[in-house]
């Protein structure tokens, strides 16, 4: 088969480590949200003390998840045999992990949004 040269994101190695990038970012953002709120409340005494910091942290988290999801989206569309992708071949392994990463990225994206949303509505430390 005559293939185009691989693009950069197709040359990236896919592994269980890349699989857990989106949920790890979600966990990190979750921790960040709690630290941000509790440190503002305990040390400064008011709630939305550094909203810019929080917005920036959320945007960074969403961006990492988006990039990770985009790479996974591209990788799981690489040419291979027809579904289901469950054989022990290199391409099936790639497509399986990429598809899982994509789904996790979707979940993590929504989860980060959900844990960031209350900040827009709550107004004090009670």
């Amino acid at each position: 088969m005559n293939r185009d040269p691989l693009k950069w994101h197709e040359r990236l190695r896919v592994s269980l480590w890349t699989l857990i990038v989106p949920p790890a970012v979600w966990a990190g953002h979750f921790l960040f949200s709690y630290l941000w709120a509790s440190i503002s409340c305990a040390k400064v005494g008011s709630f939305a003390r550094f909203p810019t910091l929080f917005v920036a942290g959320t945007v960074v988290a969403l961006a990492i998840i988006l990039v990770s999801g985009w790479i996974a989206w591209k990788q799981q569309r690489m040419t291979g045999d027809p579904p289901p992708h469950e054989s022990g071949t290199q391409i099936d392994r790639l497509r399986f992990i990429a598809k899982s990463t994509l789904l996790l990225a979707g979940l993590s994206f929504v989860a980060v949004l959900f844990s960031a949303l209350p900040v827009a509505f709550l107004s004090d430390c009670r």
Binding site: V110, F114, R126
Partner: protein, 291 residues
Amino acid sequence: MHLTSVLVIGATVIALLVLAVYVIAVRTPEGKLDHVGGMRLVLWLGAIFPTVVLTALLLWALPAMRPLPHQSGDLRIQVQGEQFWWRLRYEDGNGPGVISANEVRVPVGRTVVFDVTATDVVHSFWIPGLGGKMDMIPGRINRLVVKADKPGIFRGVCAEFCGLSHALMAFDVIAMEPSAFDAWLASARGVPARADGRGAELFSANGCGACHTVKGTPHTAMIGPDLTRLGERRSLAAGTLPPTLESTAAFIRNASRFKPGARMPAYSAMPIEDATEIARWLRSADGEAGR
């Protein structure tokens, strides 16, 4: 729209949808849906639809969780959780605070600030009909702001396990018209008329005054609940017993039979007639003696 209606209607619609999908799935001949079509179905019905619904519910519910604003002139009620009752102090800025126990009264339409704390273990102050629960932590004052929008009686409970009688630690919240509330608070600030008699003597003789306050008498101890207006409360022993003469007398003779772990000692040797006399005297202040 009311939260319950939205949730019930929503759950019904989703249940019907699931049933419809089930029927379609059973009736469709095998092989009609290819891999891509199936995946698309899972994506839309399994991921996108629930995400949209949950996001909408979150956006709709979050503003309701916003803490109510309050001002310095608002009525403040200090509540202290004790094993296993509630110590109350009303402060409206128009005179000395009013001490009470086990039954909260609030004016309808006015903001009420509860400053809650505890003296022994962690309790939690929860009036499901009025607001979220708030932990009562020894050495710390947490604030809960509520506003009753209609008159009525709400049940409040302790929502953090606090010992043997945790489940028997409740209270009533009476939301009253503001004018009635003001009248009640003014009268609670005064000393109620109370018939003197054998009950008063027995109360002193048995040492009840070592723990309890009854306004207008020499008894001013603060260990147990203030009993000045016991007769007007809708329940006895923090939502545990009916407000009757019999249950009051029975409680006096053996409190921990009704509230395991209660600090009040048993007075098993006290004749039931004496306990009834004390109960009658305590309950006489609201003019409904012997209720």
